[in-house]
């Protein structure tokens, strides 16, 4: 055992990505650490990519999970912000260098030495294990307080899906009342973008290739309109109508029609990351002074801000709570985008060490 405390979770042993019970260890609560019992963990599509080693950097055994919420059970002697019994969460990162320009500007997510919550080498040279497990130990700096107004199961997906769309909406000014936002792709990220945009007072159009999502988008998520991306007429009618687009699609897809939907000075922000380059027509960018940008999760300060905003404005993901035993089936369904819109594992009630 690498660490002194026994831990239990579910891990994949190879790139088949099949998860099963796994005994491992976690460190003792250090001076600046917060230890919490995990109650819920969201399933992010990144978990699926990592389980199957699609990005080529997975190490096994892999315990995924970076949308983790629970109750504090122990705090280190130098911890100031949290106490036992607090409702807390941890997102995509558990450490950074704390020294560089990025860290100094609350942009730990862009620190070159940022440590991911799972599957990454930590500062003590051990591999990190994520939230499909019974408890977490994390540096206080990377722990988020969950306000009482937010149910814990709903809070979990905000820690990755939420911040991933919130951060660029703020940074690129796509958070002003009256602006018209397009959201491409209606999954975990997409549905959060719709909800935040409505909370910001924006007009929202969902752009999707699945006609079946129209009803959901408008009736259940509050979008103002729906554009079927495979329908030439609808796409043409929507040209030059959007101030911004949040593009959550991670499959390779054409940018040209999306750039056409933007008004002059419009911005398209990629938060899904297709693995092959996309074709970029330069004429429309130049003629309309448009831009294409990317964004990756968010810093800790902003993640806390986002959680507080969500609590205040009732921005909650639509979730399907599942027992840990269902997780492999959930992954199969996630692969087919068969979930509205985030699976959340009920760790607290269903994760029990095998006898």
């Amino acid at each position: 055992m690498e660490h002194p405390r026994k831990a239990f979770g579910w891990a994949a042993r190879d790139a088949s990505g099949i998860l099963s019970p796994f005994n491992f260890s976690r460190r003792e609560t250090g001076d600046k650490d917060v230890t919490f019992k995990v109650l819920y963990c969201g399933i992010c599509h990144s978990d699926l990519h990592m389980l199957k080693n699609e990005w080529g950097n997975s190490t096994y055994p892999l315990v995924p999970g970076h949308e983790i919420v629970g109750i504090v059970t122990e705090v280190g002697s130098k911890v100031e912000k949290f106490k036992v019994g607090d409702k807390v969460g941890v997102g995509c990162m558990v450490q950074s260098c704390r020294n560089c320009q990025n860290c100094a500007h609350d942009l730990e997510n862009y620190c070159p030495q940022m440590v991911l919550t799972y599957g990454a080498k930590n500062v003590d040279d051990t591999i990190t294990y994520g939230g499909y497990s019974d408890f977490m130990v994390a540096d206080e700096h990377f722990v988020i307080r969950i306000p009482d107004a937010l149910p814990l199961d709903c809070a979990a997906p905000l820690l990755c899906a939420g911040i991933t769309v919130y951060s660029p909406m703020i940074y690129f000014g796509l958070n002003k009342p009256g602006l018209h936002l397009g959201v491409v792709g209606l999954g975990g990220l997409g549905h959060m973008a719709v909800k935040f945009a409505k909370a910001f007072g924006m007009e929202v159009s969902v752009i999707s290739s699945s006609p079946g999502k129209k009803n959901e988008a408008i009736e259940h998520l509050g979008a103002d309109s729906f554009v079927l991306s495979t329908d030439q007429h609808q796409m043409k009618a929507a040209m030059g109508t959007l101030d911004g687009i949040i593009d959550t699609v991670s499959a390779v897809h054409p940018l040209v029609p999306l750039i056409g939907l933007l008004k002059s000075h419009g911005k398209i922000i990629m938060v899904g990351a297709p693995e092959k380059p996309l074709e970029l027509p330069v004429f429309p960018l130049i003629m309309g002074r448009k831009l294409v940008a990317g964004s990756c999760i968010g810093g800790i300060k902003e993640t806390q801000e986002m959680i507080d905003f969500a609590a205040k404005h009732g921005v909650k993901p639509h979730i399907e709570v599942i027992p840990i035993d269902y997780v492999n089936t959930a992954m199969e369904r996630l692969l087919k985008a068969d979930v509205k819109y985030r699976f959340v594992i009920d760790i607290g009630n269903t994760l029990k060490p095998s006898s």
């Binding site: 990025n102 942009l107 862009y110 660029p168 940074y171 940018l255 040209v256 002059s264 000075h265 911005k267 990629m270 938060v271 899904g272 990351a273 297709p274 693995e275 380059p277 996309l278 074709e279 970029l280 027509p281 330069v282 004429f283 429309p284 960018l285 130049i286 003629m287 309309g288 002074r289 448009k290 831009l291 294409v292 940008a293 990317g294 964004s295 990756c296």
Partner: protein
């Protein structure tokens, strides 16, 4: 229209060969300013247009949209200009003047802009500055500051504003930050000068090693990065806050994106004729952006001219006579000019040409 009252040089087919051409210009109306053209810059867009590279040229076309001259007549509604004033006309000569873009002094983004040449206008087509005079709505005429030379200042009307506008819009003006200028031609050399005037550190990024000496000793860049040297490119990764890319050939974006720091901005002002390949990971992983920009509105162009007058910024030019234009165009197509040809129009058109 009246009888042919104007004279210039036009291209008549996709060979792009320019030759003498008589045509007519409209009468000077109440809102118009007529100027006798003294100089006109030769922009790479002129070359693209005369050869119909972009597919929307109508011949015959008289190019030229970096026009400077002296006012010879003003309409009754014109208050800002009088006879004898030194003025310029740039890339556009009209817009709707009513839409949101026009109201925000962004006539360059108005869906109904009228380009200085090759655009339908008032029942005919606009013809540009490779000619003896032009009649333009007063809103689209620029005042040339007294201490800005007309010949070396002409290229500012397109090349200048084309880099100045995005540098302001995308916030590439913070003193001490590091600007990369990719491509060293008409646009690139002016971008260096603006970069230095804004207090930036400027690195020229180019595939031609023989441009290094000029870049640093003549144009004032702080350093030079040879884009064809993989080791030098690697060492420069993550060092630039901004990049202005003036490259109009199809080129890989990944290496340029790699040069940017976190939150870095790549602005494209060159117009490749085919789409580029955009890798998304570097954008997402570094919150970087790639944007475009299209010259500038009239208010900003005037601001830019005044800025240049204050900071003594002009283009490095090679002055030519009108009958040398075809040779100049050929040299331009091989990037053989430091860094803008300017036609000495007034001294080219003697009475024997008419």
């Amino acid at each position: 229209m009246g009888s042919s009252n104007a004279f210039g040089w036009a291209a008549t087919d996709t060979s792009g060969h320019l030759s003498p051409f008589h045509f007519s210009r409209r009468e000077n109306e109440a809102d118009d300013v007529t100027l006798k053209i003294l100089f006109c810059g030769v922009c790479h867009s002129d070359l693209h247009t005369i050869k119909n590279d972009w597919g929307f040229t109508t011949y015959p076309v008289v190019p030229g949209h970096e026009i400077v001259g002296i006012v010879t007549k003003v309409g009754s509604n014109v208050t800002k200009f009088k006879e004898g004033d030194r003025v310029g006309v740039g890339v556009i000569v009209d817009s709707c003047k009513e839409c949101e873009c026009c109201q925000q002094d962004l006539e360059n983004y108005c869906p109904r802009t009228v380009y200085t040449y090759n655009s339908p206008y008032k029942g005919t087509r606009t013809q540009g500055g490779y000619s003896d005079f032009v009649v333009v709505h007063q809103r689209f005429v620029l005042r040339f500051p007294d201490n800005l030379p007309l010949d070396a200042g002409a290229p500012l009307l397109c090349a200048g504003i084309t880099v100045y506008s995005p540098m302001k819009y995308y916030g590439m003006t913070e003193p001490g930050k590091h600007l990369g200028v990719a491509g060293l031609g008409g646009l690139g050399h002016v971008a260096i000068k603006f970069g230095k005037a804004f207090g930036l550190k400027v690195t020229v990024i180019s595939g031609s090693p023989n441009k290094e000496a000029e870049a640093i000793h003549t144009l004032g860049a702080d350093s030079f990065l040879l884009s064809s040297d993989p080791e030098k490119m690697k060492a420069a990764m993550g060092t630039m806050d901004y990049i202005i890319s003036t490259i109009s050939a199809v080129h890989p974006l990944a290496p340029l994106l790699g040069l940017l720091k976190l939150n870095g901005k790549l602005v494209n002002v060159g117009l490749p004729s085919k789409p580029l390949q955009l890798p998304i990971f570097p954008l997402v992983g570094g919150r970087k952006l790639i944007g475009g920009s299209n010259f500038g509105g009239l208010k900003e162009t005037q601001e830019m001219l005044d800025f240049c007058a204050k900071h003594n910024i002009t283009a490095n030019i090679e002055l030519i006579k009108m009958d040398e234009i075809n040779t100049a165009i050929e040299r331009l197509s091989k990037s053989d000019v430091k860094y803008r040809f300017v036609i000495d129009v007034a001294n080219s058109f003697s009475s024997s040409n008419m």
